[in-house]
Amino acid sequence: MRQYGQAPAHPDEGAGVVSLVFRAGPLICALRLDEVIETMRPLETRTLAGTPAFVRGITVLRGVPTPVIDVSRLLGGGSGEVERFLAVRTERGAVALATGEVLGIRTVEAEPTGGHPALLGGGNTRLVAGVGTLGTEPLLLLQSMRAVPDEVWEAAAAAGTPS
């Protein structure tokens, strides 16, 4: 197992997935790199009424209204400091993920089948694609496509900004 911050000698090493690794509150998460559009500094966010607690609100990315998901709250880790926004692709458009520090591009070795049932069962199953480690800390490989509930999109649409 590689140490924390140690990059793989080659991107194709092992059977891992090239992912963007970042912090979300107390957790370390990763997203497949092909789901990520770009990273940026946190932008101005407006709160949306009637949305879940993990939806921080809506912001404008490149001229497009985009909902902002707080990954730490989404994963139940509580509210953490937001240092970066990650623009990710979903089936219904881009979504901004409010995360902590971006740790870099890593090749993440995760159990795609879910690993331990205690970790991957329940409501989070559709969020966490697999579980690995980064150094001595657990690493959650996320899948973003189904992260945003439909009511969030409806609320974003109701904000008056056409997609």
Binding site: P11, D34, V36, R84, V102
Partner: protein
Amino acid sequence: MMAGRTFGNKLAAGFGLTLALTLLMTATSVLALRYVLSTKDNVISSARINLVGAEALSAAMESRIADYRGYLLTRSSEYLNGTNADRNRFLDEVSLLRTTMTDPTSKELLEVVSEAEAKHAAILAPVIEQRSRMPDLTNVDQLAGNQQVKAARVAVQKSIANLIERQTTVVDSRRDASTRRAGEAMWFIVGIGAVLIAAAALVAWKLSRDLKREVGAAVGHIQSSSAQLEAAAAQQASGGRDQASAMNEITTTISELLITSRQISDSAQRVSKIAEDTAEAARTGDATIDQTRASITAIRTQVDQIVQHMLALGEKSQQIGGVVELVSELAEQTNILAINATIEASGAGEWGRRFAVVAEEIRKLADRTAGSAKEIRALIEDVRGAVNTTVMATEIGAKAVDAGSRQFDDATSSFRKIAGLVATTSDATREIELSTKQQTTAVEQVNVAASDTARVTRETEASAVQTRQTASHLSTLSGELLDLVGTGRH
């Protein structure tokens, strides 16, 4: 009235009073004697002139009678002339008695005599005429008027006898009156003499009493004063002996004082020398103080410069911090860009993967840059903290320098005060030295004076003994004088 007068005055007044009374008695005695003499003269003159005159009248009358009887017998002119002369003498005597007699009865009797004689002469004249014509007389009866003559002659003789008797009575009465007045004068003089004796006795008694009282009191005072004087002289003699011994002690003490004074003079001289050395050292210290003050001023200037440099260093650090912020910002941007480039490159095949490697290296560089910027920022913070600490410490040091400067000023002031006091002390010690020398001289003079005083004290003691003896003698004399005065006091 005599109170407050001296005894001499009283004595003079007493003798004066006695003398005045004596003079008064003498004068009154003279007056009384003169009165008695005049009275007696009256008596004598009355007896000598009036009574003798009356007797002369009788004798002249008898002589006339004898003469005219002889004429009648002899018809001699001698008898006729004799009887005429007798009559003239009788008339002259009557005229004289008229002027000398004062008694009215006698004057009346004189006039009776004159009238009887005139009548007798008138009767006698014819008879004599008758005889002149008769050559011879043989018988008396030849003459007519013989009886009338006889009656007239008896009348004249009787009147003269009455006059003589009256004059005898008058002389007797005047003699008695004169004797009575002489007795009165004698009693008057006796009375005056008694008064004089009484007054003299009174004066003598009063003078004696005053003499006893005043002189006795004075002598008593003299006696008691003599006793007191004797006691005082005894005390003075005793005190003189004590004083003489005390003066001996004083002389000894003054000699020791003289020695001590000379020692003090030497010590004062040494102190004066030390004070002059101290004053010289103080002047040297003054120069050192000026140098130290210049050094403190230089330190203060240097500290101010350090503060200025530290503040400049703080500003530079802040500027470095701004640059580091910029570098950090650039690093973050580079980090984001590198990540985004990696993301973009991941979907671009083999070239993209190589670019991703480059982008990853750029991201690592950016991370290292950010880390270095963070460290620099921390170091700058440390520097700023150190600068602030240094500035504060320097300001504290500047304040300490200021406080030290003030304290040094105080110390300088104190030092200069000390130097001034040292100078004053030097002057004072010189004055002490001079004064001690003068004191030594004065003590020597006092020593001489004490010796003189001791000698005078011994003389005073001898005089006191003499005074005591004199007082004792005076006391004895006072007792004797009291015995002489007769107060019986001792």
